[in-house]
Amino acid sequence: MNTQLNIKTRRWLFSPNVVTLLIGIVVVLVLGGPSTQAQTTSTAPAGTVDSSITLVAKGSLTDATGFITITGDVPVTGRQVIDTTNAATVTLMLLDIDFSQVQGTSGKKVFVTGGNHATEIRPFQATDKVIVTVPYYDSTKDGLSAKSMLATVTLNFDITTGKLTSGSVTIGNNVVTADAVGTTPVAIQ
């Protein structure tokens, strides 16, 4: 059975392309030595446009701690994705909104977000408003003590190139809270 099974393998192994490939692999292994990390490429595939922008978060909120001023850079990366196989497909914008550098201060207290990112898939449009909650907590504690604030991220795109052009990040109290915690079981159909 072994012999029979190996017939196809042998045929392929000795084809010119495979021989060339095998020689190439040997050369790489001998000359290249052990590799510990894959090489990465930043080439965007067809139908995609990558862009990025760094916005500055501004705002404040009030909680049991008191008044907290929020600031910090918010790098935003976007990838416009066009379905090149189907023109009817809605063009997408894949967003990564990095809140890791956002901090709050209240007196001597410092609040951090714990390296938080928001990843979003959105239909591409000239202006998009992404509203997300973001955790924050006292930098001397851990994420279990976190509360949430509301970030309103407005992003403007060049509809011709698909690239991010400008935007803003406004931080405030998480007003969703008021509507979203019930006091009695509610039947919703």
Partner: protein, 741 residues
């Protein structure tokens, strides 16, 4: 949003709803004929119902995306909404905890398990061709014998079946009813998605043991398990309620064990047969790292509260698996019918007893050994959630449309196979092991008030560090997210909900991630957006919450000294070709995989070897989404991998993906680079899209680890299962780059 949506609004005109229901019935007739073997996909192409690429022709009265006679624009016909019969309402019934499989002595199994498949003959049902065939469906001979069976003999057994829906009279949630929303397990549980909905018939729903709630297997390192699974489905192929097939293969996702136990898609077995799966429950690297079991971090909980040291790399410790059917070309239908369960693995690190302080135990929320008497595996505050979208017909019976090759979406959210339930919690921390068990739907989960959650695990693995989030990342099919929610922030009497933010218009991918307020506004046309699980904060804990979420959980294995032997590229595309024609091993697209940039994108053939990493090596694989119109959650069997980059950038790997994983959402036009090792065991494994409609049609390939020593050949013969016995044939195709030396 676009007016193209998968399900019609209940407010649609009666004429539209009638048209959609008629279209569904027409499709069901063809689905039924196809699933019962009366008509093949090839026949459907000849009949003009499918394109040669496998796409359903948009014929009015058949395709949901054909233009409606009643529409005034390009609105698709859509599917009729699943009726909420008998005034069924959301959040009106408790969520049942999983039903824990009994662990029994191996000696109680008759016949006793054997290393090689038990080929004792028995009569075969005439519906399956008659004659005689083996009692065990596992392929015979040394290649499919349990690897290291003598070294790792099973210590316990689980004896279970797959069968049609029936009432559960033996429910064991392994927690008191106070931790199960008051459910009395002594009461029989009929197979219903909600008490007000009809009982599912035995042909419509198939599950492990034929019952709900879904099953949980609790295992621990160093204690090999023999999972004997009986196929008790009807011998008649047409007794399937119109979809699903009675041949099955169970994948323990993502077990580190020999391929004979992996649920290979072509190693399926027939009604009235059993299959012995041997799960050794070992740490990866057991044959090369910590081989003498001296490292206490690599350990398993003993019944007495201590630790039993085990070989292997403790950085490879796993926690949350699931198991499900993997039948070739029918995984979507069979899993949708209910053939899925969860699988918790316990270790010294993650032992499920929050009060044991031994310097190893991470003390994650679970329960107290001192209260339960169980030194591991306490489930009081460690809750499995199986989330899946379902649909049912006008009679309330489970319904599916396999014509949706883009992906099938249900319009009703279920948790643990219960429609929009509630769950009672105490004011303390809980761990939730969330599994996306849908066919094609992605979720994005938040709490209704935007409160933070702590993600501690991704797929089977605890993260290196917990991540604080107010909304989880999208969760693809088969991905598991372990999170901790601290309900102490709420008051007794309050309620808060889990909310789905990911809106679909079809099964290709998420169309839009909504804000919390958008998702709560009930304005989305996607009926599965919004609240789907209600938490009722009912009391303070009887004892203080002493569970922890440490700042360091399980660091990644160090691969820096392990050379990369080879790199491969897999591109996931539509428009696949099929270059082979074996009627058993091949299937048609439209989906497929291109390997190493060579030749066409190929549709699945489990007789084709697309990659053959050498035993004992490490490789780097690039998983590329070949298009922007869809997403693919790609699963690689066997060993957990590390994510090296996304879209060519290390920095694009988010914090919650910095641990080990086994499923990656590629994202539209996206690319993920991963690294993985091939050690400890050998045999044939798979790689596929876990949008199971894509997997079945036919985005799946076989790869195998050869050269693991006797009895492994190079390459392995393909099993061809028949009720009268499994035969073998040579691989019908081997890609040129599969074997690289």
């Amino acid at each position: 949003m676009s007016d193209r949506n998968f399900f019609l609004s209940p407010k649609a005109s009666k004429a539209r709803l009638r048209e959609a229901e008629q279209a569904r019935r027409n499709r069901q007739e063809i689905i039924k004929a196809n699933s019962q073997g009366q008509v093949s996909r090839r026949d459907l192409i000849k009949m003009g119902l499918f394109t040669s690429a496998g796409l359903l022709i948009p014929i009015g009265g058949l395709s949901p995306f054909a233009r409606s006679a009643f529409a005034d624009s390009n609105i698709p016909t859509g599917l009729p909404p699943s009726p909420l019969l008998n005034n069924t309402t959301a959040f009106s019934t408790p969520m049942p905890r999983f039903d824990v499989f009994p662990r029994i002595p191996v000696a109680s199994l008759t016949p006793a398990p054997t290393a090689e498949s038990n080929q004792t003959q028995q009569p075969v049902d005439p519906a399956l061709g008659g004659g005689t065939g083996p009692i065990e469906g596992r392929p015979p001979g040394p290649i499919w014998a349990h690897q290291q069976f003598g070294l790792l003999p099973p210590a316990i057994a689980v004896d279970a079946s797959v069968e049609g829906a029936k009432t559960n009279n033996t429910y064991n949630p392994a927690v008191p009813s106070t931790q199960n929303s008051g459910i009395n397990p002594a009461n029989p549980i009929p197979f219903k998605f909600h008490p007000n909905l009809p009982t599912q018939t035995a042909v419509k729903a198939w599950t492990y043991n034929g019952t709900i709630p879904p099953k949980l297997m609790q295992v621990r390192y160093g204690e090999p398990v023999l999972f004997r699974l009986h196929n008790r489905l009807p011998a008649q192929q047409n007794q399937n309620g119109g979809f699903g097939i009675h041949t099955i293969s169970t994948h323990e996702h993502n077990g580190h064990h020999g391929a004979e136990n992996d649920g290979f898609t072509g190693a399926y077995f027939f009604p009235n047969q059993f299959y012995d799966y041997h799960y050794p429950i070992v740490l990866a690297g057991r044959n090369s790292i910590n081989t003498t079991a001296t490292d206490i971090m690599a350990s398993s909980p003993t019944d007495a509260g201590g630790l039993n040291k085990v070989p292997g790399d403790w950085h490879e410790t796993m926690s949350t698996h699931w198991f499900h059917d993997h039948m070739f070309s029918f995984t979507a239908q069979n899993v949708y019918k209910g053939i899925a369960g969860m699988f918790n693995i316990y270790s010294g690190l993650d032992r499920g007893a929050e009060d044991i302080v031994d310097g190893v135990n991470l003390r994650l929320p679970s329960g107290r050994a001192s209260a339960s008497g169980k030194s591991w595996g306490n489930l009081d505050y460690d809750v499995n959630l199986m989330i899946a979208d379902k649909a049912w017909d006008a009679a309330g019976q489970l319904a599916m449309d396999i014509f949706e090759f883009d992906g099938f979406l249900g319009d009703r959210m279920t948790v643990n196979l219960t429609y929009k339930p509630f769950f009672e919690v105490e004011r303390r921390k809980y761990r939730f092991r969330i599994l996306n068990a849908s066919v094609s739907r992605f979720f994005k989960i938040a709490l209704s008030d935007g409160s933070p959650m702590i993600q501690i695990g991704n797929d089977g693995n605890l993260l290196p560090h917990p991540v604080t989030l107010t909304q989880l990342d999208e969760q693809g099919i088969a991905e598991r997210y372990d999170i901790v929610i601290d309900f102490s922030r709420y008051s007794v009497g309050q309620t808060v909900w889990m909310v789905n933010l990911a809106e679909h218009q079809d099964g290709k991918r998420v169309s839009k991630d909504l804000s919390l307020s958008e998702a709560l506004s009930n304005t989305s046309q996607d009926p599965c957006v919004g609240k789907f699980l209600e938490f009722r904060i009912v009391r303070n804990p009887a004892q203080p919450d002493i569970s922890q979420v440490p700042a360091t959980l399980i660091p990644n294995p160090d691969l820096s000294n392990i050379p990369v032997a080879h790199e491969r590229t897999f591109e996931f595309n539509s428009g696949a070709n099929q270059t082979t024609n074996d009627p058993i091993t091949t299937f048609f697209g439209p989906w497929g995989i291109k390997t190493d940039n060579q030749g066409p994108t190929l549709a699945a053939d489990f007789g084709r070897i697309s990659a053959a990493p050498k035993f004992g090596t490490r490789e780097v694989w690039t998983l590329r989404n070949g298009g922007g119109g869809w997403d693919h959650p790609i699963h690689i069997h066997f060993e957990e991998c590390q994510t090296l980059s996304r879209d060519g950038s290390v920095s694009k790997v988010p914090a919650w993906e910095k641990g080990r994983k086994d499923v990656w959402r590629l994202r539209p036009s996206g690319e993920v680079k991963i690294t993985l090792q091939f050690r400890d065991f050998g045999g044939m494994f798979m790689e596929h899209c876990h949008n199971t409609m894509h997997e079945d049609n036919a985005m799946l390939l076989r790869w195998e680890i050869d050269g693991a020593g006797t009895p492994f050949l190079n390459p392995l013969p393909t099993p061809i299962p028949k009720p009268q016995g499994v035969t073998f044939m040579a691989p019908d195709d081997i890609l040129p780059t599969a074997f690289y030396d």
